[in-house]
């Protein structure tokens, strides 16, 4: 594998099952269920077996898991933090956009 050159055809709109997202976050399915019930993650599909988590859910889940582990917050606290971080990110994007459009000169 060292120095190898390969071309990959990636899964871009990859969505995850409950088992896959748990594995990617290194946590149990129960911990993911808690994040769903806190509203951090919003899977598509009616039953747990059919659940599909979007690519953006993976980023949120990883953040929530790390915040719980590193800052000693509970799942509700991590959920609040993740939501606020999302909102801050959107506002930053918006500010950057508006500044570029209106204050460049």
């Amino acid at each position: 594998m060292i120095g190898s050159q390969q071309t990959y055809q990636p899964d871009i709109e990859y969505s995850f099952s409950l088992a896959e997202i748990s594995r990617c976050c290194g946590v149990t399915a129960e911990q993911i269920l808690v994040l769903v019930s806190e509203g951090v993650l919003t899977p598509q599909g009616s039953t747990q077996r059919e659940w599909r988590f979007a690519s953006s859910d993976l980023g949120r889940a990883l953040s929530a898991v790390r915040l719980e582990r590193d800052l000693g917050v509970n799942p509700a606290g991590a959920a609040l933090a993740v939501e606020l971080l999302d909102e801050m990110q959107q506002l930053r994007e918006r500010v950057r956009l508006l500044e570029a459009l209106f204050f460049r000169r």
Binding site: G3, S4, Q5, I12, C24, L58, L62, L67, G72, L97
Partner: protein, 319 residues
């Protein structure tokens, strides 16, 4: 190897109580947590703090660290005294927040590598069943490549342990096909390209988080593309047809008479195309630019306007 002053890293006095140390840690961890912080060195600081806390929160390690003496300065070249840990017993284990962070040589020379230290970034998690770790990385993609699709050559720094257990890093070259229509925050998953599995387990995956590079002309929000479009005062007043660049090539845009600065004109479907969704739009944001009065003729024209076009843009200010 450099001496590390864990007390100054944590910003606490050498006689701080365990409670004070815990409070200082929580506060710093919130400030520098890589998921929260926008500081560019957040990950490095967070690891330093985790390492300092690992030592200071544990009474055994703290006493051992303290008896190195207080004459050391941070960054000073350090060798542990020969019998420095004689008479101490480390119960080991119990590494918490920073357990995967890969502590400094200084830490390891004092307390060993612990059982569970992992290479690389804080997002790598140990796995059961011998499956390799998932690795996460960011890639920058130009807006043109995101719009058209492209094959990019990537160089990734991969931290790894050699058979002697030393940490090193190697460069890995990958060719990755970027599909048409990626946007910031999307993750590309390369199955089986993460960390090697243990004991014959399958390899982990490599996730690449897409970040669009800033563009000279366009601003991007989600799948929509914004462009500042300068127009003349007469184009604004009288209307007219102007050429507008888009990612898919220039198009003609009709400007209605009486256009204003800051007006957003939508070019439907001219943003970033996304498979299975309606494509994004492009917005041209009008900017009326007055020509400079840099010749006698131009000055005369402006003077004529001043005389013949009574106009007070500040009327509503009471001026």
């Amino acid at each position: 190897m450099d001496y590390k002053d864990y007390y100054s890293v944590m910003g606490v006095a050498r006689d701080a109580t365990q409670d004070e140390i815990k409070r200082a840690y929580r506060k710093l961890a919130r400030k520098y947590h890589p998921d929260v912080s926008k500081e560019s060195d957040a990950e490095v600081r967070f690891k330093e703090i985790g390492e300092a806390y690992e030592v200071l929160k544990d009474p055994e390690k703290r006493v051992a660290y303290d008896q190195l003496g207080r004459n050391w300065k941070a960054g000073q070249d350090f060798r542990p005294p020969p019998d420095w840990d004689a008479g101490f017993e480390f119960s080991g284990g119990g590494y918490t927040a920073a357990d995967e962070a890969g502590f400094s040589d200084f830490f390891e020379s004092l307390f060993g590598r612990g059982g569970n230290f992992r290479a690389g970034g804080f997002s790598h998690r140990p796995r059961s069943r011998g499956r390799g770790e998932d690795h996460h990385s960011k890639i920058e993609v130009s807006l043109e490549d995101a719009f058209n699709g492209a094959t990019l050559s990537l160089q990734l720094q991969v931290p790894e342990y050699d058979p002697q257990g030393r940490l090193s890093s190697r460069v890995r070259r990958l060719q990755v096909k970027i599909p048409r229509g990626v946007t910031s925050g999307k993750r590309i998953r390369l199955a089986g390209q993460g960390g090697a599995g243990q004991n014959g387990g399958p390899a982990g995956d490599l996730f690449l988080e897409v970040q669009l590079k800033p563009h000279r002309l366009y601003q991007v929000e989600g799948k929509d593309v914004f462009l500042n479009l300068p127009i003349t005062p007469w184009e604004a007043a009288l209307g007219g047809k102007v050429k507008v660049p888009t990612l898919g090539g220039a198009v003609d845009l009709n400007i209605a008479a009486g256009a204003r600065s800051g007006q957003k004109l939508r070019l439907k479907g001219r943003g970033i195309p996304i498979a299975g969704e309606t494509p994004g739009d492009q917005y041209a944001v009008l900017q009326i630019i007055a020509p400079p009065a840099d010749s006698a003729d131009m000055k005369a024209l402006y003077e004529k306007m001043a005389r013949e076009m009574p106009f007070n843009p500040r009327a509503h200010l009471g001026g």
